[in-house]
C-alpha cells in the first residue's frame, strides 16, 4: 500500500518535470533580430504562413489575390490558414505565443492583441522593411498608405503592423423613409441625429425607431473623443463628460427614439425590416445591408455624425522567429496586398476601405456603383480615431460593451441609470488594472 503510494507520487513528480521541461523549450530562441540583413531577392523556395480570420467573400478574395501574387513570384508559396472569427484568432495567437516556433510568419491582428508580444520582442519592426528599396517602398510616404492607418498599427511608437483590412463607422439610412417623413438633411452632428430620430419616431406613430449604434464600445469611445477626452486609464467613467455621453443614448432609449442591437449584435437586420430608420455601424457590413434590403427600399451611406469616426479592422503583423528569407518574402506579399491594384479589388469586393490613399481618390473606386460607400468615403474619413494601444486598453474597450448594455437596459426599463454608471465605473477601472 505504502509502496504504491510512493510510486504514484514519483510518477506524478516525474511527469510534472517532463511537462515543464517540454514547455520551457520553446521560449528560448526569441532573440531579437532587428539588425538582420534584409535579402534583396528571394532565390530559394520560401513558404510564408498567413493566419487570417476572413470568412465568405473576404476569404475568397484574399485567396484570389494570393494566387495572383504566387504567379508573379513563383519562388514564394503563401499558405493561408483561416482560424475562425476574430475572437478565435486572438485566442489562438495568445496561446501559441508560448511556443514561438508554431507561430505563423504573419498574422492579421489588432495591435491591442499583440501588446504582450511586442513587450517580449516577438514581433518584427517593419520600418527597415518599409525603408528598404528592394522589398519595401523606400519610405513610408512612398507606400501611399494613409498616415492615420499606419499610426494605428504602431505599438508603443514602433511600426509593427501594416494596415490591411480596414473599415470605418458610417451612418446607413433609409432614404425612402427620410422622404416619407419629410427629412431633408442627413444628420451630420449628434444633435441633428437626435432631432431626426425623434421626428421619425413621432411621425411614424412610434412604429419606427430613429437610430441605433451597433458597437457600444465605439459609441462611448468616440463620444468621449468628441468631448475632447482620449481613451485611457485616466477616463473617469462617472465624470461629467462620460455621463453626458452615456445620457445622450440613455435618454433616447427611455423616450423610444434610439435602440440597441442586443444579442443580434448588428442592426442591419432590424434596418432591413424597416424597424429602425438609421444605424451607425461598420462600413464592412454594407454587403449584409445590401443583401437584407434587396428591392424593398433605397438605402444610402453618409459620414458618421460628429467629428470623429472609428477606424477599425486588423493589420498584418510579422513574428520574429521566421528566417530572413521568409520575412523578406512575407513583406513582399504584404506590399502586394496593399498595392493600388490589390486594394482596389479588395475594397470593391468586400466593403473594406482602401488603405491606399490613391485608391480612395481614384475614379475607378469612386465610380463603383454596386455599393454606396465609395462615393462617400473621402468625406467620411476626414477625422479618424482608433483605440490607443496600451496595457489592458483592449480589455477595457471590450468591457465597455457590456457596461453600456447594462446601463442602456436599465434605461429601457425606465430606471435611473446612475447606479448602473457607478457599477460600470467599478468594472471599467477593474479592467484597466488587471
Amino acid at each position: 500500500m505504502k509502496f504504491s503510494k510512493k510510486l504514484a507520487m514519483a510518477a506524478v513528480a516525474a511527469l510534472a518535470l517532463v511537462g515543464t521541461a517540454a514547455c520551457s523549450n520553446g521560449g528560448s530562441n526569441s532573440s531579437s533580430s532587428s539588425s538582420e540583413k534584409i535579402p534583396s531577392k528571394i532565390t530559394k523556395k520560401t513558404t510564408v504562413v498567413f493566419w487570417n480570420a476572413m470568412p465568405g467573400v473576404q476569404g475568397s478574395t484574399l485567396k484570389q489575390l494570393t494566387n495572383e501574387f504566387e504567379k508573379k513570384n513563383p519562388k514564394i508559396n503563401v499558405k493561408l490558414e483561416n482560424q475562425g472569427d476574430y475572437n478565435d484568432l486572438q485566442a489562438k495567437i495568445n496561446s501559441t505565443l508560448q511556443s514561438p516556433n508554431n507561430l505563423p510568419t504573419i498574422t492579421q491582428a489588432y495591435p491591442g492583441w499583440l501588446w504582450n508580444a511586442a513587450q517580449n520582442k516577438m514581433l518584427v519592426n517593419m520600418t527597415p522593411y518599409i525603408n528598404n528599396k528592394n522589398v519595401g517602398w523606400g519610405s513610408a510616404k512612398a507606400s501611399g498608405i494613409r498616415t492615420e492607418l499606419l499610426d494605428g498599427a504602431k505599438i508603443k511608437g514602433t511600426q509593427y503592423g501594416i494596415p490591411f483590412n480596414k473599415s470605418i463607422e458610417t451612418l446607413t439610412y433609409n432614404a425612402d423613409m427620410f422622404k416619407k417623413y419629410g427629412i431633408k438633411k442627413v444628420p451630420t452632428t449628434m444633435d441633428e441625429l437626435k432631432q431626426v430620430s425623434e421626428t421619425i419616431y413621432k411621425k411614424s406613430n412610434h412604429k419606427v425607431v430613429g437610430a441605433g449604434f451597433d458597437s457600444l464600445s465605439n459609441y462611448y469611445t468616440l463620444g468621449l473623443k468628441n468631448e475632447g477626452v482620449n481613451f485611457s486609464d485616466k477616463v473617469n467613467f462617472s465624470g461629467a463628460a462620460s455621463k453626458k455621453v452615456i445620457n445622450y443614448y440613455a435618454d433616447g432609449i427611455k423616450k423610444g427614439y434610439f435602440r440597441v442591437a442586443g444579442s443580434e449584435h448588428y442592426l442591419s437586420g432590424p434596418f432591413a425590416n424597416e424597424k429602425v430608420a438609421m444605424f451607425i455601424g461598420t462600413s464592412a457590413g454594407e454587403g449584409f445591408v445590401k443583401q437584407g434590403v434587396g428591392n424593398k427600399f433605397t438605402y444610402d451611406v453618409a459620414p458618421r455624425p460628429g467629428k470623429y469616426t472609428m477606424q477599425q479592422g486588423t493589420d498584418i503583423y510579422m513574428f520574429n522567429h521566421a528566417t530572413a528569407d521568409q520575412k523578406a518574402a512575407a513583406f513582399k506579399y504584404i506590399k502586394f496586398l496593399v498595392s493600388k491594384s490589390s486594394q482596389l479589388k479588395w475594397a470593391n469586393a468586400t466593403g473594406y476601405i482602401p488603405v491606399n490613399e490613391s485608391v480612395v481618390t481614384s475614379n475607378e473606386y469612386k465610380n463603383n456603383k454596386s455599393t454606396k460607400l465609395p462615393a462617400k468615403l473621402e468625406d467620411s474619413m476626414k477625422h479618424l480615431y482608433s483605440v490607443p494601444v496600451s496595457k489592458n486598453s483592449n480589455a477595457a474597450y471590450q468591457q465597455l460593451n457590456s457596461i453600456m448594455q447594462n446601463i442602456l437596459s436599465a434605461a429601457q426599463k425606465g430606471q435611473n441609470v446612475n447606479s448602473q454608471i457607478n457599477a460600470g465605473k467599478q468594472k471599467f477601472d477593474a479592467a484597466w488594472k488587471q
Binding site: 510510486l7 485566442a91 444579442s263 480589455a395 457590456s402 447594462n406 488587471q434
Partner: protein
C-alpha cells in the same frame, strides 16, 4: 493485508500515465500559475495578487453567483421533473421504447444547434414562446435581451437539456427494480402513492445520487449553452456570465492567465466542496 500483484501496474500504466499527464498535471500547473502574473510567454511570481484581483472584481462575483444559482435551481428541478416523467413513462405509457427514444433525442443533438433554435423560440419580438404567452394573456418578458431575465432563460434551457440523460438513466434503474416487490405490495393492497414512496424511491436512491453528482458538476461547468443561447456572448451586459466564461475570457481574450487560473482554483474548490457535501448527504439518506 495481501500485497497487490505487480502485474497490475502494467495494466494500469496507460491509465495512470494518461490521468497524471492530462488531469493531475494540469491541476498542479493551474495551481502554480494562479500565483503568477503577466502573459503566458513571460510569467512571473506575484503571490496572492491574482486572488486579490478576482475577489475585488464584481464580474467574478457575478459569475460565481450565477453559476451557483444555476446549479442549485436547475439541477433539483430537472431531477424532479425527470423522475416524474420517467415514472410516468414506466408505469402508465404503452410504447415505452418510442418515448424513451424521443426523450433521448436532445442528448445526441449538439447543444449549439439546440441553443440556436431556442434563441428563436425565446426571442422577445417574434419568438414562439412569447407568441403562446401572449395568446394566453400572460406577461411576455424579453427572455434574451433583458439582463434580468438571462439567468432564468439559462435555467429553463438547462432543465430542458438535462432531462434527456436523466430520464434514460432513471428508466434503466426503474427496470432493475424487482417486480416481485410490486406484486407483493399489490397483494397487501398498497396504493399507488405508497408503492412509489415505499418501493420505487428507495430503490432509486443510488441512481439519483449518481445523477445529482454528475448534474451538479456539469452545472458548475456550464458554458456551451450560454454561448449558444446568447449568440457567442455571456448574455446582454454579461448578465449570464458563468465561472467558465470568466475563466475563458481572462485566459484567452484578456491575456491574463494568472487571473484565470486563480478563478479556476476557486471553482475547483467550490465543486470539490459541493461534491463532498453531497456524498455526505447521500450516505445519510442511503445508509439509514
Amino acid at each position: 493485508m495481501r500485497s497487490n500483484q505487480k502485474k497490475a501496474w502494467l495494466f494500469l500504466a496507460p491509465t495512470i500515465i494518461f490521468v497524471t499527464f492530462f488531469s493531475i498535471y494540469p491541476i498542479l500547473r493551474a495551481f502554480v500559475m494562479s500565483f503568477q502574473s503577466g502573459p503566458l510567454i513571460n510569467l512571473n511570481w506575484t503571490g496572492f495578487s491574482n486572488y486579490q484581483y478576482i475577489f475585488s472584481d464584481p464580474e467574478f462575483w457575478r459569475a460565481i453567483r450565477n453559476t451557483i444559482l444555476y446549479a442549485l435551481i436547475s439541477v433539483p428541478v430537472a431531477l424532479a421533473i425527470s423522475i416524474m416523467l420517467a415514472w410516468f413513462i414506466f408505469s402508465k405509457v404503452k410504447h415505452k421504447s418510442f418515448f424513451e427514444t424521443t426523450f433521448f433525442m436532445p442528448y445526441v443533438t449538439s447543444t449549439i444547434a439546440i441553443g440556436i433554435v431556442f434563441r428563436y423560440i425565446f426571442n422577445g419580438e417574434y419568438g414562439m414562446l412569447n407568441f403562446l404567452l401572449r395568446a394566453l394573456h400572460l406577461p411576455a418578458p424579453n427572455w434574451i435581451d433583458d439582463p434580468s431575465m438571462s439567468l432564468t432563460t439559462i435555467i429553463i434551457f438547462g432543465v430542458w437539456t438535462s432531462l434527456a440523460f436523466n430520464i434514460v438513466i432513471l428508466m434503466g434503474a426503474l427496470r432493475n427494480i424487482d417486480p416481485n416487490y410490486y406484486t407483493i405490495a399489490d397483494m397487501y393492497g398498497a396504493t399507488g402513492t405508497e408503492r412509489f414512496w415505499r418501493i420505487t424511491m428507495p430503490q432509486l436512491v443510488p441512481t439519483i445520487a449518481f445523477l445529482l453528482t454528475m448534474n451538479i458538476i456539469a452545472a458548475f461547468k456550464i458554458y456551451t449553452s450560454v454561448y449558444a443561447l446568447f449568440n457567442g456572448q455571456a448574455g446582454v451586459g454579461n448578465s449570464a456570465t458563468t465561472a467558465v466564461f470568466y475563466i475563458y475570457n481572462k485566459f484567452q481574450i484578456v491575456g491574463t492567465p494568472g487571473v484565470a487560473m486563480a478563478a479556476t482554483v476557486i471553482l475547483f474548490l467550490i465543486i470539490m466542496f459541493v461534491t463532498f457535501l453531497q456524498r455526505k448527504m447521500m450516505k445519510k439518506i442511503g445508509g439509514r
